[in-house]
Amino acid sequence: MINLIEAVNQALAYELQHDETVIVFGEDVGLNGGVFRATDTLQARFGEKRVFDTPLAESMIAGLAIGMASQGLRPVAEFQFMGFMYPGLNQIISHAARFRNRTRGRITCPLVYRAPMGGGIRAPEHHCESTEALFAHIPGLQVVIPSSPARAYGLLLAAIRNPDPVIFLEPSRIYRLYREEVADDGQALELGKCFQLKSGHDISLISFGASITETLQAANQLHEEGISCEVIDVASIKPLDFATIAHSITKTGRCVIIHEAAKTCGMAAEIMAQIMENCFAMLKAPVQRVTGYDTVMPYFQLEKFYIPSVTRIKSAVYYTMEIK
């Protein structure tokens, strides 16, 4: 039984073993094994040429990956926290996302940028970011957020094997939260597919990342109260598997979307827009969102009031179910 961080480690090790073009680098990922131990033991197993530390410079990390990818390597670059990806945004947005397009396929960027994301680990400020919507908005990027060890393993394999850039965001709050059996068989999951975690017929709860935890808890409690919830893990924020969401809405007619990221222009807004475009007639009630507030994530004394709680989720469900 392994947890999510170990699943990440397992996937990295598998690819390093089976694909000699895979390179892993970032700050403190070598001897130290990463501040969350994501790359633990990898340098010892695969050597300093394949797993190494970089100087402290995030734009550099992003740019190096691009240069390496252009030469036929598959870099998996780590940013220590999502909040420190920002200096690298120029490289990611202006280059990684565009090289294939602007050279008409001559130069491509088969790379993965990994970073821990989200709050709830009592970390200092800037270590709790959930700005996946920024990346989802950029044409040329793919964005993946796993919610379980098994999905982290399968999706990271898929991300590394993908011929185009993937932003792989790991919710740090659930790094060690659960353990499950994850066979180290190198089987990748598909990018661009949602996962149904629970089947139900009264309402569809759509979420991703660490919020899956509270969503499942809410769903279980609501089940006891006679409300049957279907729970969908989006997993691939971009490309979004809307067909699965649409199928769920057709079944239930009601929907609440949950994410830790701030409300305005968050992923729930995009999903709602697509529900509006495609499932309008199926809806029995307007879609609701339970999200982080449009404020800065508070320091850890208050962070649990920011993160969508089971109470808030149930509240939204009760309201949605009330609409006739």
């Binding site: 969350f36 009592r122 200092p124 999905r151 740090s172 709050r173 060690r176 659960y178 067909a243 007639a281």
Partner: protein, 356 residues
């Protein structure tokens, strides 16, 4: 592995003796759980676990002296990282249901083609697109429209609303219908039958206001004004624009209101306000065929008048056989708040007004 070093147990004490272990190697502990009792020069102090984890090594037996700052206990899995604390708490089932039957992708078409599909009543889900990447083309829609001997249409918009209203009416209202005819042979041509009908209805509402009312939550709300809902048929469905305060409008203004309602429906230019707050409905359904009907009352209203096809009939008039022009009137009322007496008196007043 993380080593927990003996902290200063008070005012710079240099060392302490292990008095009693509360845990052993292999135990899993939670943060703040007491690990060991240490005896100092001054007292016996319990030392709590600094974090969650599993104990992998104890650095001494009972009686051993440990210097302050030296190893005391070793933990497996630093569950704190360089920043923050990660919780361990197996709780939720996370496995996904393996969807071997992935949902088919949604049909893909440009707005132009989607509109065409609506016009031709073609369901895009029934078509396999022949365009690049499976996009549905205009040709796909047109050839499908020709082929199918039935068309399928999910009710949306106005038709869907009608469906819901009818269902609701059927669920709640207890309808009774009364049928009669008005003799309009004496009307001078040209006549504006709709205006006369509305005027007659307004007169009848004055005589029996109980039918110009709303009934909901067991409460009757009788109105002084008549907001006349005029049923108007169109390609997109049934619309009921409302002529507000019809009882205060003269014939000319009534005709104007009728015209602008019909035009507005045709052009879909009427704002939502124009469809609200009807107190009674007139349905002039007889344009094509039909004499009598029991039309559906729209809650929370309690009555609806339906007028069928104007016809010539053989009548007994002053003891002689004659051919007169007549108009068939149907009144459906909700028998929950209204009696048959109220309804028939209403109908009598209506017909009298028409026949004057």
């Amino acid at each position: 592995m993380t080593i927990f070093y003996l902290p200063d147990l008070g005012e710079g004490l240099p060392e302490a003796e292990i008095n009693e272990w509360f845990i052993k190697e292999g135990d899993t502990v939670k943060k703040d759980q007491p690990l060991v009792a240490m005896e100092t020069a001054k007292a016996v102090v319990d030392v709590p676990a600094p974090q969650d984890g599993t104990i992998t090594k104890l650095y001494g037996q009972v009686g051993a002296i440990i210097k302050t700052g030296k190893p005391l206990v070793e933990f497996n899995h630093a569950s704190s990282s360089i920043v923050g604390q990660l919780e361990e708490h197996p709780d939720i089932a996370l496995q996904h249901i393996n969807l071997t039957n992935r949902q088919p992708e949604l049909p893909k078409a440009t707005f132009t083609v989607k509109k065409l599909a609506l016009e031709y009543n073609v369901n895009l889900n029934d078509i396999v697109g022949s365009g690049q990447f499976g996009v549905i083309t205009a040709n796909d829609v047109l050839s499908h429209a020709k082929k199918t001997d039935c068309s399928r249409e999910t009710l949306i918009g106005v038709r869907r609303q009608m469906m819901k209203t009818m269902q609701l009416s059927h669920q709640e209202i207890v309808p009774v219908s009364i049928f009669d005819e008005a003799d309009i042979n004496h009307w001078q041509k040209p006549y504006d039958i709709t205006v006369r009908l509305i005027q007659a209805i307004c007169y009848a509402c004055k005589q029996e206001p109980g039918l110009n009312a709303w009934f909901k939550h067991e409460e009757k709300q009788i109105f002084n004004h008549v907001n006349l809902g005029l049923a108007v048929d169109s390609n997109e469905g049934l619309f009921v624009p409302v002529i507000k305060n019809a009882n205060h409008l003269d014939a000319l203004r009534l005709r104007q209101a009728i015209n602008s309602s019909k035009q507005g429906v045709l052009e879909r230019s009427l704002p939502p306000e124009n469809f609200k707050d009807a107190t009674i409905i007139l349905s002039n359904f007889g344009r094509f065929a039909g004499k009598f009907a029991n039309p559906i009352i729209v809650p929370p209203m309690v009555a609806i008048i339906a007028v069928g096809r104007v016809f010539d009939a053989v009548v007994a008039y002053q003891g002689e056989i004659a051919v007169h022009t007549k108009v068939p009137i149907s009144l459906t009322f909700d028998h929950r708040p209204l009696t048959g007496g109220e309804a028939t008196r209403f109908l009598k007043a209506l017909i009298e007004h028409l026949e004057q």
